[in-house]
Symmetry: C2
Subunit: 478 residues, 2 copies
């Protein structure tokens, strides 16, 4: 029994130590392994297969919205990085520097890209000449490096995988629409494919991306009430265009600066999936991104009738699902635990009596519910189960987020409520000073300003009591 | 007419200056752009779409042969790189070194991976314990960096995209079978999907991969008779296992070293496609990897009947093909030239008279042949055309390779023949000395030793006259 060490009994209970529970899952479900390079992880086959499924769905959505993929270099010359003042200030402290190529010292240091705005802008300044060259709707799938001091698998690592969209538009309106559209793509992806509800909103000035005019974000609530910033979409105005001298001849034949956006989603998403849906038996994967959607486990696999039935069911299902049969010599109980750890959405058990009765047992990973199924209509029933799993997982997470979101009217109230895990909604005057005070005294950071209610409000800031400008959600973040 | 500058008239003729012809095509077909980082290219949307199609097909083949994808870090600590002596000697002169993370100097330098044997071995030494953990059949899609002194788009650049498979096996036989199997996957991919014939063989000791016991290769012949090493598969024996202390409990319960392989294919492939199939009108793309397989060009696009017919044909074809209609205001002639430059395999022209006659004209990019087609069976005919294009492109390239492959019996003969472009086949004694002499006096390098005739032969080395050990193909290489 070489795999006995993977037994679920070794997982730390979520309530006992959430951080250890998380680490146990990423290791025991085979998602990642630590590497010999500080802060850089190895994504193992099961974890990488999740990422491949995420990529496939997102890439399709990007292409449907008119985007195409490109590859930029992984290095940025120091002088290029410095062109946009706020951008360099934000990233310089956390980049890795290449100083030597082969035996020679480089004349100019190169940083390993922490993000590629500067590379895209440099390129755009060469290829954009006329309004006919616009819009540019480019995306890149790659890895980036940020020299983080403390790291955690998938949530914060020195190297991570992501996609970064970089677009250029003739005018502000179109660029702002793009910024919003891609946030919606992210939020819908989270809802439809990951069963994760999110808050959609705008980051405060303090929390926005280095160099952006503003940043839109989706924020998800983890099982422990903490927030995970899960995807961001930035509106740059024409700031980068001016810094990089990207100019084009507009429709009136005048020279003009175009407007830009960027937007990104990373392997962090895998952390969100774990911490929103996981439980004390391991991962619980949303069916759309599960590397394995169904596992069929024969009860008494030596029985010929059982094997025949298992094969028939497998052949029926494999046309539409990622499915496997586990015929290994482990006990059924061991197998149940193993695939629960791995978060496989559905388990089908088929034993001798099931064969006689033309039935089988279908077990849902998310609820543990056991459903007796006619063998003959198994394929059509599976799609019903999967739809239901997706909805139920979403509703459970939504219910949690709603239940754990509080309101605070004044600062005492905010301080008191901050002791509970979850989000807190308050009125806010808009000043960074109040934001810093909240951080200092409660450890909370602003998560976002909901988009639809960013307007004048006849109420008062919960921190300073001055006239409120907006509603803000606060939370403790990963 | 914003795109007038792209007009094909600007391409240098192949016969006049092959190197410039190549550069003209990569630029004018929109495959790549130079970046501000020396030797690193930007792969533009059209070029990247070719790579995505290559990836999709190859990745499927890897998965069908049991491989799974992972992600290793992009950095290798210097001490790790040094563990296998020959490997570090081969790569040290051409790696980029990271010396600083953020503001701090690193205690140990990190190189940006030029290839990932050392990272995979380090990982395998941690996770392989028993024969039950074997085989490991892992692959990674990523970019790697080699600090090349002279660079050319796709053919040799400081950063390039590739896949690298790294496998571990219980015994030598299985590992050698894997080495051979993956070479066959590459060769078949080249033949079936790129219509490129290749020589399959073994590299000489001098030309093998740094650290390998032996290297298998596929070598393709370019239009100018030069060789392009297009994919390699390495057998490592247990050398890396010993260097990295990868040990496992074998089936006899004894501690043993496993056997390893690695194999890779890169964005060079795009260079091969250009230089095997391209002509003086631009790219000629094999249909399987062409981002656009068919372009429909209305002749007189204002004509309603033409537009209706164009739309009907488009709707029919788009189910099975990557197809687009070009309704832009450019002249038909301009469009013909543009899509020829981009290598689109088929062009469909539909004008008012065609509509009346229920016909259209289909033009093959590879031959220029114009075929009159009934409109009603256009969809079934297209698949016939595409199959024929693939076969004809392959046969044309094969004919060229065969015609331009010569034999030389002695050294004078070899020197004389080396003045002609192409491959030269000779007997060889197996000594590096003879190989170096050939390089020095003719500029030829050994391309490979054909696999099926690597055995004792009753003939004499064309260089030194001693007893021959093998047949070798020589060529000038990219």
């Amino acid at each position: 029994m070489p795999d006995e060490k993977k037994n679920v009994k070794e997982i730390t209970a979520m309530d006992k130590d959430f951080a250890r529970w998380y680490t146990d899952i990423v290791k025991k479900a085979g998602l990642m392994e630590y590497s010999s390079v500080r802060g850089c992880m190895i994504i193992e086959p099961y974890g990488y297969a999740i990422w491949e499924n995420i990529q496939k769905i997102l890439d399709k959505k990007f292409k449907e919205t008119g985007h195409v993929n490109v590859m930029m270099p992984m290095f940025i010359p120091e002088s290029l990085l410095q062109k946009e003042k706020n951008h360099i200030e934000g990233f310089a402290p956390e980049v890795a520097w290449v100083t030597h190529g082969g035996e020679e010292e480089l004349q100019e240091r190169l940083c390993v890209r922490p993000t590629s705005e500067t590379l895209f802008c440099d390129y755009y300044s060469k290829v954009i000449h006329s309004w006919r060259d616009l819009p540019k709707l480019y995306n890149q799938w790659c890895s980036v490096v940020r020299w983080e001091k403390t790291t955690r698998p998938f949530l914060r690592s020195c190297e991570f995988l992501w996609q970064e969209g970089h677009t250029v538009h003739e005018n502000k309106v179109e660029a702002e629409q793009e910024t919003q559209k891609m946030l919606d793509v992210y939020a819908n992806f989270f809802k439809e494919h990951l069963s994760i509800p999110t808050l959609r909103g705008r980051k405060t000035e303090k929390e926005k991306f280095a160099g952006a005019e503003y940043t839109l974000t989706i924020e998800a609530m983890m099982h422990d009430g903490r927030a995970l910033q899960s995807g961001t979409s930035h509106f740059f105005g024409d700031k980068f265009a001016k810094a990089f001298d990207i100019k084009y001849q507009n429709r009136e034949n005048k020279s003009a600066y175009p407007f830009q956006t960027s937007w990104g989603m990373t392997t962090r998403v895998i952390g969100a999936i774990i911490m929103v849906h996981g439980d004390d038996n391991g991962l619980v994967l949303p069916p759309d991104i599960a590397p394995l959607q169904i596992v069929i486990i024969p009860i008494n696999s030596k029985n010929v009738a059982v094997q025949n039935t298992v094969n028939t069911v497998y052949e029926k299902l494999r046309k539409n699902y990622r499915v496997k049969v586990d015929n290994s010599e482990q006990s059924p109980g061991w197998k149940f635990a193993e695939y629960e750890m791995k978060g496989v959405p559905l388990r089908i058990e088929i034993g001798p009596r099931d064969v006689e009765n033309r039935k089988c047992v279908v077990v849902r990973r998310d609820t543990g519910e056991k459903i007796t199924n006619e063998l003959d209509n198994i394929d059509s029933n599976i799609s019903v189960h999967i739809d239901k799993i997706k909805k139920d997982m979403y509703n459970k997470a939504l219910m949690r987020m709603e239940t754990m979101t509080y309101e605070a009217k004044n600062f005492d109230d905010l301080k008191e409520t901050s002791k509970k895990p979850g989000f807190i909604k308050t009125m806010w005057c808009g000043s960074t000073k109040c934001e810093e005070k909240v951080k200092e005294e409660t450890g909370l950071t602003s998560r976002c300003i909901p988009l639809d209610i960013y307007k004048n409000i006849d109420e008062h800031c919960a921190i300073c009591g001055k006239k409120a400008q907006a509603i803000v959600y606060w939370g403790k973040s990963y």
